[in-house]
Amino acid sequence: MKMFSFSHKTAFVVDHCPYMAESCRQQVEFDMLTKNRSQGVIPLAPVSKSLWTCAVECSMEYCRILYDIYPTKKLVNYIVSDSEFHVLNSWNQEAQNTQELMSALAAVGPPNPHEDPECCSILHGLVAAVESLCKVTEYQHQARTQLMDTAERVCNRGRIVCLTNAKSDTHVRMLEDCVVETILEQNKLAAGSDRLMQIQQCELVLIHTYPLGEDTLVSDRPKKEISPVLSSEVHSVRAGRHLATKLNILVQQHFDLASTTITNIPMKEEQHANTSANYDVELLHHREAHMEFIKSGDLHPAGSTSRDSGLKETVTLKWCTPRTNSVELHYCTGAYRISPVDVNSRPSSCLTNFLLNGRSVLLEQPRKSGSKIISHMLSSHGGEIFLHVLNSTRSTLEDPPSISEGCGGRVTDYRITDFGELMRENRLTPFPESPASGVSGKVPLERAKAQLERHTRYWPMIISQTTIFNMQAVVPLANLIVKEGLTEDDVLTCQKTVYNLVDMERKNDPLPVSTVGTRGKGPKRDEQYRAMWNELEALVRTHVGGGDRHTRVLECVSACRSRPPEEEERKKRGRKREDKEEKPERNGKDSEAEKTWQEPGERLKGALEREKEEPVESEVIKDSPDSPEPLNKKPRLTLEESQPPEKAKGPMSLLTLWTNRVNTANSRKHQEFAGRINSVNNRTELYQHLKDENGMETTENGKTNR
């Protein structure tokens, strides 16, 4: 693959001299009689295109195909020549489209038949073309600046396609000699300039076009080397459709194109909407899409046809009705842009519109026998249609060991859904290219990497390795803390999350700790909470570098988290006063809830142990009437301490064990009813708020936390 081959630069030189105004002598009937018209009307005389019109529309067709298949990097410079030269566009990528050229051509208009033929010559245009080929394109410039010291590797080759009406073979030779001379001259000039490049090789394609019915004065000549820098070929073609065919063949040769005919396309008939006939559509695309056929010598399979005396070949592929869906990932070895040969015909536009609407079509190799082989797929991406080459041979990767047989394959509790969530959050999106667009000056892709890094700083891969990521309550914090920058609101949300966890701990809510691989009951509740807090702290700590607000979240976690009892004791005194101010009211309530908000088993035990507990509890309250934590801790500690004596009293029945287990499991699945939580002996008073509103308004006024 060479980027700077002949096809990088094409200079079109079209003759605009008076004789090009001559008719091509092929008449086009444009006043077609339609059935329902009155009989007496005489149709208007047919029109006939001039040589100029033929040359222009064929060259535009050449450009149309070229731009469809190579929207970038294959450039055209369109030059018109009469008594002087007119350059219609530049090598710039923005100037490379047919609309621009059409507009410029309209400004030039048809040749003036009354102009003095002596002053007019195609030579002006050819000289301009050589000069133009010396100009550096933006791609050449870019490659040269990138390579620096090896910039000479960037070649400057080009092709001149000249459409003219020559007088004789000698005239043609004169034109060729002139091009050689101009190249030598321009190369000398270019050698001393940074803005110009010397032409290493140039290909001149001279097309002599003449009206139908005239004898040609110029003979065809295959490619021949005129000088080391110039090779030249001459084509002598009648104007009109002959010229169109010639240029179609040339565009294929010049840009390595090949033709595929899609056959058996079912299409609704205009007249009979419920029937459909089968149509064929011919497409052009890069030759590479046929490589498999070319190499295997299958280029002429059963369906292929050869037209125009063997000059043009097309491979036939059959439309395959079972369509593919877009979420399937095909093994595709190449995708090549297409251009329909007959872009405006009804079959072509039906096919292209079908594809542009987002549907894909699989194409099948026609075979006389054997199973069908799907070898290609037509699909559009963003308004461009591509011919995808699908791999149809045996894969060398067949029958690989399944991923479940390899490393980590036996592990069953991966956080698949959570990672899926992470993937969704780390989906990519295109950003417009502008130096200012990158936040903090990084290219978008680097920012994407940085985000992935942040999102994975603390990311246990399996469910049993984590508590916090199994808790709905942690989600708001976990989602926010990975952000690059936090807002005040974010910090508030994080803090709320932490307080909520404190609350849960106080209420002794069960934690979704995985019991996979552990025998028996697993760690005790307070140990679970400790582990949870450790994990949360670890998560937040990895983001402390994110700024002050991240640090504040960490501070909040450290301040609120529960600690091992000894540490707790030490801290307690320091924090007492603070707590007193903050939560003067809730305390009593919480302690009330505390007693009931226990697992049933514990409640049972609790009931049994109530007598024992009570003094302890009162003692604690005495010691620290306002602090919630000790309340939380102490009763449970005493509870656990009291277990051995309980066990000594007598074993629990199997039924109790089982019910406890089931209840525990169930309680994890739903939030407990408020009524049940607040119940006394499984009874709770309904419509308490009515009572509150009616009789206890006075007390409520004093509350701060309502």
Binding site: E57, C407, P444
Partner: protein
């Protein structure tokens, strides 16, 4: 990348090797010893490679078709018989056939030719083949270069001194150049013995059969992986950038994209990404002892139970229907996805895109892809129903923009008919009438086809005279207005023939209501 071992089974391979003391060896025994070593290496470290064994003399025969069963290959090697003279050309033709039959012509292959370096004499000898190469017709072309990309490794069971006495090395080098896909000629150093054949095959293994190990990263999550088959270096443009690019051993995930958005992209090659245990030592030569194997299986078991990022990634990619974009080098990218085979076995697969900043036009420049959180509003929509892909190109393609092509008369006739059809439905179709009229006008001006403008003007004038009595009075006004405008344009007068100018409907008393619509 399948391997074909092309084993010389000619009589000259039975030549004994002079060895002091110990038992007598034939060159064939040395060759078999070397190949055994290669097969053992592959069985342990390159298990997924398909290998075929072809023996040749004046004829060739597939001893073992492509397989991953290295025991079968080994067995076939020990049952190898001796035949007549060496005829390389037909054997190479055979290799070409069997590879194409099995894998088509796009799959890269490695051919390991094992020979003693006596390449025959007279007709059928390599020297003869090379000498007559250029004088043949298309039907009898020399099999090199192969139609598929191929690396040719030539293992000479002979030392360099021995080969230099004839033109063998020159011929083999010519063969290598012809094959054009790279490769190397290996010769034995010093005395012909088991040790030197081992060292020669050791070099081949180092060069062509060392597994490619890499680290797959996604932020702070990572996994050690083997990428199979080995990704081969790629040359982008032999003129501007002639140095081959190789992929990094640090594969970094840059983000994720829906399968529908990446939509069957073209890829250079596909590779399995197999997680490997971190501390496993890769033994260098051949299979380990039974003890090693036991140890290995136990470490494998351990590895199976400890969580691995690849498995997690694979699972989520599969469930979510997404691919991970991975950076393979500076301006080189690929994608990771879950691939299930016909037996419902699933695997993590990596496909390499063409190197370059913009391998897929519908994604745009890779470096311009960024996190959605940087966008002002979520490009996937709040309810995940939108997508920022595919990217629209700056200019529409011809088939998407209603271009005018009159190369075939039918193209011109259709366009004129469209105008006429709308002309007969004036004033209802005023807008479409002028749209079609302007389209024709623009094309006629660009093509310098003024005669057509005059013709259509006449056509419209005639249409005006044929209007039935029941016609809306506005129709006549619009038709004669349009005809007049076309006539003016056909004069080439810059005031009326400007390309950008559009003929607008005539404002009449009747068309007052239409004015708002214009």
């Amino acid at each position: 990348m399948p391997t074909v071992v092309l084993m010389d089974a000619s009589l000259s391979m039975t030549r004994p090797v002079a060895l002091e003391g110990s038992e007598e060896f034939q060159r064939k025994n040395l060759a078999i010893h070397g190949l055994t070593m290669l097969f053992e290496h592959m069985a342990t470290n390159y298990r997924l490679e398909f290998t075929a064994l072809v023996a040749f003399s004046s004829l060739w025969e597939v001893m073992v078709p492509f397989t991953r069963d290295y025991n079968t290959l080994q067995e076939a090697l020990s049952n190898l018989e001796d035949y007549d003279k060496t005829c390389l050309e037909s054997a190479l033709q055979g290799v070409s056939n069997i590879v194409q039959q099995e894998w088509g012509s796009a799959c890269p292959c490695q051919v390991v030719l094992v020979t003693d370096g006596s390449l025959g004499i007279g007709r059928g000898s390599l020297r003869h083949s090379l000498a007559t190469m250029k004088q043949r017709g298309d039907d009898k072309k020399f099999p090199l270069p192969f139609p598929f990309p191929a690396k040719l490794y030539i293992m000479c069971i002979a030392n360099a001194e021995e080969l230099q006495s004839s033109d063998t090395l020159d011929n083999l080098e010519q063969l290598l150049i012809l094959s054009a896909g790279g490769g190397q000629i290996f010769t034995m150093e010093g005395q012909l013995c088991l040790k030197s054949v081992q060292s020669m095959f050791g070099k081949l293994i180092d060069q062509a059969y060392t597994p490619f190990h890499a680290v797959l990263r996604c932020g702070n999550l990572s996994s050690d992986v083997q990428v199979f088959p080995r990704p081969e270096p790629v040359v982008i443009d032999e003129e501007v950038e002639p140095t081959p690019m190789t992929i990094l051993t640090d594969l970094e995930i840059v983000g994720f994209i829906e399968i529908g958005d990446i939509s069957s992209p073209p890829v250079l090659s596909r590779h399995l990404v197999l997680p490997i245990a971190v501390n496993k030592e890769v033994d260098e030569v051949g299979a380990g002892t039974a003890e090693d194997a036991e140890e290995e299986s136990s470490t494998n078991q351990m590895a199976g139970k400890s969580p691995n990022f690849c498995v997690l990634l694979h699972g989520s990619l599969k469930v979510e229907g997404m691919v991970a974009l991975v950076q393979l080098g500076p301006e080189w990218y690929g994608m990771l996805y879950s691939q299930a085979d016909s037996k419902k076995k699933s695997n993590l697969m990596m496909s390499l895109f063409e190197p370059g900043p913009e391998p897929l036009p519908w994604l745009g420049k890779m470096s311009q892809l960024g996190p959605t959180s940087d966008a002002k509003e979520n490009p996937y929509g709040e309810d995940d129903t939108k997508s920022p892909f595919p990217l629209q190109p700056k200019n529409k393609r011809s088939y998407a923009q209603n271009v005018t092509v009159w190369i075939k008369p039918s193209g011109l006739q259709t366009d004129v008919q469209k105008i006429l059809r709308n002309a007969r439905k004036l004033p209802e179709k005023t807008q479409t009438f002028y749209k079609e009229l302007n389209r024709l006008r623009k094309a006629a001006l660009a093509f310098g086809f003024w005669e057509l403008l005059k013709g259509v003007a006449e056509l419209l004038e005639r249409e005006c005279t044929l209007l039935p009595d029941s016609a809306h009075p506005d129709a006549a006004f619009q038709l004669s207005h349009a005809a007049q405008q076309l006539k003016l344009a056909s004069t080439g007068d810059s005031q009326y023939a400007a390309f950008e100018h559009n003929i607008t409907p005539m404002v009449t008393d009747f068309s007052g209501g239409d004015r708002d619509r214009m």
